[in-house]
Amino acid sequence: MAFLTGHSGAGKSTLLKIISLIEKPTRGHALLNRINLKTIARHRVPYVRRNIGIIFQDHQLLFDRPVFDNVALPLIIQGYRHQEIAKRTRAALDKVGLLGKEKSMPITLSGGEQQRVGIARAVVHKPMLLLADEPTGNLDPVLSREIMQIFIDFHQVGVSVLVASHDLNLIDELAKPVLTLNQGKMIYNDLDGKLPDHDSAEFKPGQAHEFRPGNW
């Protein structure tokens, strides 16, 4: 598990977009589980994305269907069997503490609950890597801590988690590795989970950043 920080425009979102194959790197290479994301064919993109779970700041739930159908969507896309879908979806909802809300419509849920539905949807197909872009951006500190705790739980069962966040206090508290970006370059890489001082030396990035799940 690692955090990605930096000012607005530092390249956090771009990095997440490159990993989730929304954008391609203009220079250099990005490797995901030894797959070069730059050279991947267009029709292979969906299959690579299935190894990733993405959590959005604004949840991006589908409001025309109940919570259960929202969470089950990745499994339906991947062609799982009906019984398997029901089993896994309930398990994912249970993990985020929303098992009782499976029949509710997302619009009736609070912001924190909606975010937890988003997390359940991102983990239901057991991805190798979990990406979260400002997952606590709209939540109060208590809810934010709850959400982060869910990420830590997933990390403990073997899922790699990369969280882009502004919430420096929370990051400091959790003591996880931190990657700090500035102007598209990694200026600090602290695997001890300490944030950089303002006058710290610039971190020199290598030619290729490899995001290999399991290493963090």
Partner: protein, 319 residues
């Protein structure tokens, strides 16, 4: 690239096939559910398709009826023989007897020159001015009715035989008006084909546009599903089935419209039958016509949505 195939609990291939088919059924029902959730716009789209298709459908039915009616007239072709004016009535009557024994002849009718003149005097209105003529200018006439089952070729043969006999001055087959009718029918048939093509294109555009709006309305949903790892085929499916439903329902609607029109016309037509003691009977769509109408409408729906999906879906990429 072995990203997804080597994953642990991936479903087995046979299960995947079942899941694939299941998803088709799900998409079919899901798109029907979408229609059910928004009935008013759907009814409007279906009505537009139904009305559009009812025009070629109704035109086709009209033509079919005209065709059936003109088929009845085909059997009342008759040959009129104007005999040599110098032929005596006795010889003419003998010739009539000769003809009635010929092959392919149903019946003959003899009209003497005297009767012809009387009939002409009454119907023409020349009256007394005809008396100033020294001689009756009209010849004896024989009307020959060919057998009902004789085909055009046999009738033409009969005509030629009669024309060749010395007693006959002119032999005339009364089919000119029929040929005119057939020419008009041919024009009408081609018009039906053109109308059908034009209106089919209209339906294609209507459905294409509806699906395009549908895609735009669900823009966000498409992006989210793409990010979750949906293939284009997966995203395309509910839209294609949406088009299929529009086409199917529109086809049924057009059938309904034409049937209602048929019922509306059949009342006055029955009265007309009574008045003229005619035997006109309207024919409606056969089961086969119905199947053709609904199937082609459904295929138009599929094609229309395919065009929309091909144009717009691939352009939507998450940013």
């Amino acid at each position: 690239m072995r990203t997804s195939n080597t994953r642990r609990d991936k479903p087995a291939t046979s299960n995947q096939l079942i899941a694939y088919l299941l998803h088709h059924v799900q998409s079919l029902i899901f798109s029907l559910g979408k229609i059910y959730q928004a009935p008013v716009p759907t009814i409007m789209t279906v009505a537009v398709i139904g009305i559009t298709l009812s025009l070629p459908g109704g035109f086709y039915l009209f033509l079919k009826n005209i065709n059936a009616m003109s088929g009845d007239y085909r059997s009342i072709t008759q040959i009129t023989l104007y005999l040599d004016i110098k032929l005596s009535e006795k010889k003419a009557r003998a010739f009539e007897g000769e003809i009635s024994g010929m092959k392919n002849v149903q019946s003959t009718e003899f009209i003497s020159r005297k009767i012809s003149l009387e009939a002409f005097r009454e119907s023409s209105g020349f009256g007394k001015s005809l008396d100033t003529l020294a001689n009756n200018p009209l010849p004896h006439t024989i009307i020959v009715e060919p057998l009902g089952e004789a085909d055009t070729f046999a009738v033409k043969n009969l005509l030629n035989t009669l024309q060749a006999s010395p007693q006959v001055k002119i032999a005339k087959l009364d089919t000119e008006w029929l040929e005119r009718l057939y020419t008009i029918l041919e024009i009408a048939k081609r018009s039906v084909v053109m109308v059908t093509i034009l209106f089919s294109i209209a339906v294609l555009l209507i459905i294409g546009n509806t699906i395009r709006l549908d895609i735009q309305n669900r823009y966000q949903e498409i992006i989210v599903t793409k990010l979750i790892g949906a293939t284009n085929a997966f995203i395309r499916r509910p839209f294609l089935y949406g088009g299929v439903w529009y086409g199917l329902l529109g086809g049924l609607m057009s059938w309904l419209i034409v049937e209602i029109g048929y019922l509306a016309i059949s009342g006055p037509l029955n009265r007309l039958n009574l008045l003229y003691q005619a035997d006109l009977e309207l024919i409606t769509f056969t089961f086969q016509d119905f199947i053709v109408l609904v199937t082609s409408s459904t295929l138009l729906g599929l094609a229309g949505s395919w065009i929309a999906v091909a144009q717009h879906l691939n352009q939507i990429e998450p940013t």
